[in-house]
Symmetry: D2
Subunit: 462 residues, 4 copies
């Protein structure tokens, strides 16, 4: 890599999960839109064919209208080949297939447990973590071997447990996790400014928030636009839309647009705790007692959000595969801003800018009343070769029970999965707020979910 | 006070709630049994007649068989009179009457919420705290004024919130809270030694335990008798008696003898978490999801413990009043060891001995992963004019969710009650593991319970 | 205040010490240069005449070449008048006169103690703090009364003890302390890049540093320019210039230009500890054993820095008074960038930008191994109505002894001065690394310095 | 091991350094005096002949008048043989010979640095640690391999760095360090009670103290006898004896009796800080600026303590060798209470008693404002298979600079010695309060001391 008057040239990015037909395409678009970075992207995927197709598509993006820099996309045959000498590593993988995810999400329904996403917390998130953690261990070891100085950006869910595992395996790793859920809440607050104060055109970055919590269960303890304290304004907004929900300005990110929410869960949590929960309602609902928002399909509908069935994901995947076909032919190669922070973060880490945004990092004290080492989400400051969390402060006592239980559970799962100890994983499983079952039933469910996904759990049965 | 070859003479004890017909009589018996302390006990009670009757009874104890020291018992007309120059203050009061307690315990039953005790946690414990906290504030202010150097021993429930309030009002107070529930678990472990290892006659003090948690929801992270690690032994014991429960060696303490438990809740918690919950099952059950052990009267019966109806307490009070009548006549004045630590603690604080036992104190780091200042229960070392907690260690991650939520809730209630802020108290109420209700129902229940006990909640409606 | 398309209008700044002929003029220049803020500045000074003259001068700045916004400058008769409704408060005062400072700096010379500045640490800094702390208490109380929501920027030395006192008196104050010493070190590192790597024109803001320590005794644990780790480069630079010192690119800030340094102290500290001390050598030398760099005038000369005699300050004051005369006549009203961060910080706090820079704030955990509450200097993130420290990390063990002793001393002085307890202040005085004296001599010196400045220490003798 | 009605039988003790002619004999005497423990002691020493002689002497102790239990003493040929299956391990070794110690203590005198002991802190303590740490690593590894569950009692100096190294190598070790220096201060306080209050016959255990600090630089933040607060009494005592020193009731422990102190250093430290330094003056003097108490032989004499020349140790060793000869012949085998806590600690760990006493343990929060993991000295509670520190509290700010610098230095030395990194060791060496030298001189001294003892520092030059 070198710096010229055009910025940083020769930047090397390894993309693990590089056959992706979602995040990978978004990154392609963001990279070629960025005027002051260029280099190469090595796409590694266990589905090698997918990586190769993305190599073609990626290189086509260099010619798209609006492209401002050039990137060489290249499929890598091995993880080592992708990682060697990388400046950045992006991790965005699916642990197993949508068949396993189908079990994660839908098996618990037999016991009356509904999950709106099923990839982060709850029974689905925990079983998914079991499959994922051994994979992440391999990636972490690869990074230690091939590019120990690289910055590692994780997008894989469950986010917290992924980042925690990266650090468990390689404590000196320079890794963090990125998620756009807080951005969605900032956009909602921009809408609040329009709706309640008549202030239009506020960008989400202009809404300054203090972020605290764990990924997908993040909270804002303050929200400010210029000299306007948004907390009382939001309070009135909640009163106005509590019953109806608020559906304008909905997030149209590709991951979310088919399953919008009306923010009623968020509003209800505000009524309970006086703080702004800062993620999509589908995620938030999974971190609290199941009966609050997820007791039945009807309840979910009333609360104004959607359960995302895995059948939808399978269908959507087909569409994305078709899109892949079209793109391979050079169609549909269109640059569209994703709103993700990944490329901005890289620029800041290369010293081309300074950025303050929310990320997932091990707790070094940024949240003093959560365990040191646990992965938490707060704002952090990005600058040359450095990501430093800001001191977000203590979790307020009213939401402390909700968050501390999740943190403890995730800590337990990561440690136990690292030791391939299913019985201890089950302790966390049975503690989960969605697993509102007698102990025997909880164990039956756990065993069934493990059985269903056993093809990917070989490590636990050695 | 002075020291002679007989020990400490002229010790002054103020007993707040000195009309009591339980703890007070126990203390009388323990005091006159103690050979190396003598002095006076000032009995203060808002029921002055009760205090005066106890003055008579107390003085009669000096003549009981086995009495080894002399104490002057004296009813005090005012709190200030009782406290002036006291070396020790004992606090053991009932906030309001059993009518209010009846509402605390039984009103939630309308919503399917059963409470086995209802004085510590759960809806009953929280509403009881609302009445109690303003009373404790007055006592703390009295101590600051009349005897700031006195050692203050609290027996009042809810224990945690009482001790926390004492320190909130008077940060330099030398107060701690005492509870015998851990002793009962030590006795159970002595039975385990007999049942599993054939070792008879072990005293509870010989079973060395590391205590961690909050009052009535304490846990043992280790238990050792000489060179025997009791954790694996207990594990086998749990397997043996899990279904049947274990009923030998039941606690016959006056507070508990009518409502024994078979330890099945304790065994179930051990199966879940691998740690020994160290309180009576009636208490333990109230700190976890209601549906685990308290879903119905039938479930409670199956789990082998009892709900203590307030009607029983009212009936029992009548018996105790009758006993009071007899005692006033000099009958039934019998010294019987209570097994409580109060007098031993006083002796140690006077420098007559060293004692290590479990008490409730503000967290100064003895449990590093709970909030500083929150009241926790651990072992502490008592010696001349000093109570110092031992470093009990971190709450293990598997039970951390259960304990941290309770601590947070109690912190919230104490602060909010101190500010007479019912809405914030309600946040904790709605978070309680027993309050498994929709938010509206939770609020209705809260409002009803407040209404029922409003005569004692005037402070909140000023 | 309101926001228009020109930015923030009607911003109200209170300047305490507004008769200043240094910082105040710098701020005038910076304010009128700032295109997107306008409003008024109330100048309060116990020297009312000085404030009134600055009112005239300030208003003249509006007409200077390059002025881009309009500010009303206005002398305020009382502190309350200045503070009422202020959005920002600037504190930049001299505690007493240069006569008292003469005693602070030069009396210790009788005992062989030389001080290069004498306003921060060492005997001079401590005695200065005694005079200052009661004044700061009055200001803090005024802020609580008149503008509790204002952001307070302190420039007064001793910085640490001033900021600590502001928070001690008014714990909810929104105050921080600003200092340009780290900037000077960033500039030195820019010179290093030129000298060692041939990279020219690097701005100090582009050198990204992790700042840790206390004001004037700050250290850099990392320094990075783009992808260049400056630590090994600096190490070679130190080797190159260790003997000769490095004098190019010297700071020409008005406060420093007459007493430049050759960085030999900084280089020596790097040789000892492998970390970059980040303040002027005159300041650094005062925080370590006197005999290292301050044993005699000759030693100071050899180390390549200067002792700043108070006679120079008196002389310089005369020049500044003459300049004041000229400015009153409209001469010499020239806008010159000061390089200070004050106006940038205000802009960020108003939501017009985001800024990451070093400031002095109470430790909330940003330096986990220093006491909570002690004022420390680290980077912080400024955005709308918020200053949040970043997690700077632990003080490395090799410099921990040097810094922890200073922190403890400052904590002790602030507390003791707050209680007007000279004997405890003396404990810190005698512990000071410069006060390398037998206890009796230390006390004689202390008493003499107190006596010399007694006119301003009345509070301690009530 | 088994328990009978006589207590614990078959207890196995490994004594590393078992050829010792001091501590080993004391332990023999204490063991056979203890009625409720018996078993075997394996004596391991690199001087095998010395161990064999102690085998004979130890077995003779079983027949001494007053012996109440039987112990088999047995020389072990290898460390592994000594450690296998041990219940307790005692470590009491001399790193190298008195020739090396001669260099440690006396080489710095060339530079005007006097050391009264030279085995704990200061240049002598640091160089001694360099030799010792690799030896301790071998022992720690042996314990991990042969007796990982054993309790390990260290008496070797430097105490702090030894215990720290044990935990660094084997984090699950059950080790602590014992030292009698605090006992001596308790005895002094008993004398204070006699001298000032006319209370005679107080035992040192009855003086209850809160111990805080690091070994040989421990402080008492409270001292209480029954209801007497000893702090004000001690203050008057200090005034009375400040000039003359106090020499009655001098410690006659074998280690100390030839070099008594008059407590003037202790008194002076009390005058400075208002807290009781709790070790012999010879030790205390080495932790503060050399010029305070160790500036010259004359100064030491005036301060009323002694420098212990290594020539004395060599002479004393001859006497002890002669004593060894006599003892081998069965002469002089006399039981004499040592006043050490070792055997009491073993009894408590075996569940035969409960004991609260001061020990050296890694900081788990017992001193919240010192680094976690650093070895500190506080009280701890000993019971069955458990040593738990009590929460000693924060180091007061007035002595924090003195203690924190020592802790940091020891942390640095242990880490650097573990990595065989002499340059970093030198950073700590140059920081030492006794090493009041220009950097070049400090390095010359360091290099000379390393050179002098190079025969034992081979590990650092591989």
């Amino acid at each position: 890599m070198k710096y010229t008057d055009k910025g940083a040239e020769g930047v090397r990015i390894a993309y693990v999960g590089g056959g992706s037909r979602g995040w990978a395409w978004g990154l392609m678009s963001d990279l070629v839109s960025c005027p002051d970075m260029s280099g190469e992207v090595r796409l590694y995927d266990i589905d090698k064919e997918a990586a190769r197709r993305n190599e073609v598509i990626g290189n086509l993006f260099n010619g798209a209208e609006g492209a401002r820099s050039h990137w060489d996309f290249r499929a890598a045959d091995t993880l080592g080949e992708a990682l060697s000498g990388a400046d950045f590593v992006v991790i965005s993988i699916l642990p197993a297939t949508f068949d396993e995810m189908e079990s994660d999400v839908h098996t618990p329904e037999k016991y009356g447990i509904y999950q709106s996403v099923g990839d982060t917390s709850g029974p689905g998130g925990i079983i998914r973590a079991l499959r994922l953690i051994p994979m992440i261990e391999v990636i972490a070891e690869g990074i230690r071997e091939y590019c120990p100085e690289a910055w590692v950006i994780n997008y894989t869910n469950p986010m917290t447990m992924t980042v925690r595992t990266l650090y468990r395996v390689f404590p000196d790793i320079k890794a963090f996790g990125c998620c756009h859920e807080v951005f969605g809440t900032q956009k909602l607050l921009a809408s609040v400014l329009e709706d309640m104060c008549g202030i239009e055109g506020v960008k989400r970055e202009e809404v300054k928030v203090n972020v605290i919590g764990v990924n997908h269960f993040t909270w804002l303890t303050s929200a400010q636009y210029k000299n306007i304290d948004l907390m009382p304004v939001y309070s009135e907004f909640v009163d106005k839309y509590y019953e109806s929900g608020y559906t304008k300005g909905m997030d149209d990110n590709w991951m979310n647009n088919t399953f919008a929410c009306s923010h009623r869960v968020k509003f209800d949590l505000f009524k309970r705790y006086g703080l702004i929960a800062a993620a999509g309602d589908r995620h938030l609902a999974e971190f609290v007692e199941g009966k609050w928002y997820l007791s039945s399909r009807e309840a979910v509908r009333e609360w104004g959000f959607g359960l995302t069935p895995v059948s939808w994901r399978k269908e959507n995947l087909k569409e994305r595969l078709e899109k892949s076909e079209r793109r391979l032919k050079g169609e549909d190669i269109v640059i569209a801003e994703t709103g993700e922070d990944g490329v901005s973060q890289m620029r800041a880490l290369l010293g081309l800018d300074t950025l303050v945004t929310n990320v997932n990092l091990p707790n070094m004290g940024q949240i003093p009343n959560l365990p040191i080492g646990a992965v938490v989400e707060t704002n952090a400051c990005f600058s040359s070769n450095s990501v430093t969390p800001v001191l977000a402060g203590e979790i307020p006592m009213n939401i402390y029970p909700l968050i501390s239980r999740i943190v403890a559970s995730q800590e337990l799962v990561v440690k136990a999965a690292g030791e391939r100890d299913l019985d201890t994983v089950f302790v966390a499983f049975a503690n989960d707020p969605l697993v509102d079952l007698p102990l025997d039933d909880a164990r039956s469910l756990f065993d069934e979910m493990v059985e269903n996904t056993k093809a990917y759990l070989g490590e636990y049965f050695k």
